[in-house]
Subunit: 221 residues, 2 copies
Amino acid sequence: MEEKDSFNHLPHKTIARLSQYRRALLLCLSRGKSHIFSHEIATIQHITPVQVRRDLMLIGYSGTLRKGYNIRELIDLIGNIIDSDEGIKVAIVGMGNLGRALINYFSGKRHKLEIVAGFDTNPDKIGNTMNGVPCYPAERMKEIIEREKIEIGIITVPAQNASQTANELVAAGIKGLLNYTPKPIDVPDYVYLEEYDMITTLEKVAFYVKMRQSEEESNKK
Amino acid sequence: MEEKDSFNHLPHKTIARLSQYRRALLLCLSRGKSHIFSHEIATIQHITPVQVRRDLMLIGYSGTLRKGYNIRELIDLIGNIIDSDEGIKVAIVGMGNLGRALINYFSGKRHKLEIVAGFDTNPDKIGNTMNGVPCYPAERMKEIIEREKIEIGIITVPAQNASQTANELVAAGIKGLLNYTPKPIDVPDYVYLEEYDMITTLEKVAFYVKMRQSEEESNKK
DNA sequence: TTTGCCTTGTTATTTAATTAACAAATAAAA
DNA sequence: TTTTATTTGTTAATTAAATAACAAGGCAAA
């Protein structure tokens, strides 16, 4: 208990990187590697070796000098930190292209984190199964989330339905939400919320592309 | 020229928020509103009024005291900053579920930023049109990107093809890349790169959900 | 054995972003 | 007319994150 508490002040960015380190490490392990240096991890992730070492320091893992980190041990440790012992169930609301894309990404990958239900209002989709994930009618959201003890919801409905969907998920007792619509949603404090807006991301890329071009032009002069 | 340069030190987060403010403002405008207060924008975006005012200060926009900001003017100013005068063309590589989801999100929305081509290797998809976006064979990437003067590429191929796709896009002269595969890619300095990893995001949500639960438990004791 | 080279682990510094604090302006109310 | 409430704009302080700096350990080669 006390140990686990020590991880709740890890920087958000470190949590994200740990997840990425683990995937890279699993790949290395499958290729027969047993140890890895911080600069190797850094190269794979396109970050600096210092940042890798600092992250590992924060989770209290020590490598061996001149031999690097034990890949198997590190994978296990990261799992202890970021995975839930019992596993966490996830539901996707909105089985359009984005919802299905997410299911494909996840299918059979992470066993501690499983997408167990999809919801939609389209009668053509209801009753079908996508990559092993059954699609239920939106009206049954509360019932199924409670029955299956689903704790995380991913919102991939059209933007205009985002906030209503969020409310329904919260009412159903969801603990964490991931909102992929461009419409910001409002949830109670006890629900962890992460939002990602694809339109904004693309506009940002466009801005920096433009910015660099105009910098180049003014340098030429 | 000199004015534009003044925007190249805007914080990245501010750029992202400007894009979001604009969308919110367009919605308000369409409802007949002409002015808006910082705290109204803040409520819509679930941030603080101070942050809104600070962002607007950075772009040099002044509202009128006790009347707020002129929505029309502000929309135009944000456009001047983040849009490219001539517009920027975008290509999507990988017309799977995620690629199609992005096309749906964008279709007909932002006229300064247009998805004009999709690429895939699947013969069933090649030659089709999705929401007005034609799907070309991957081999024609360079040819079409050069011909259409496409500057931004979005990578939505399977992870194992990510880096090869990135190389092809860079070779074709792309200026900005948005990588949605969980595999980090490597691009030259002159290419602006943004990466987003859905698996990591979901693992992060799961971590914080778990963390809060174990905090609650230890509080009960 | 000794020297030099890597590599880790940690602290210090710098940079980025958010939040707090508050002066100034002005419309509305007293 | 004077006071009060509200809202903007800006500087200062705080927090979060990344980067730099460097001591210490230990293998390999001389």
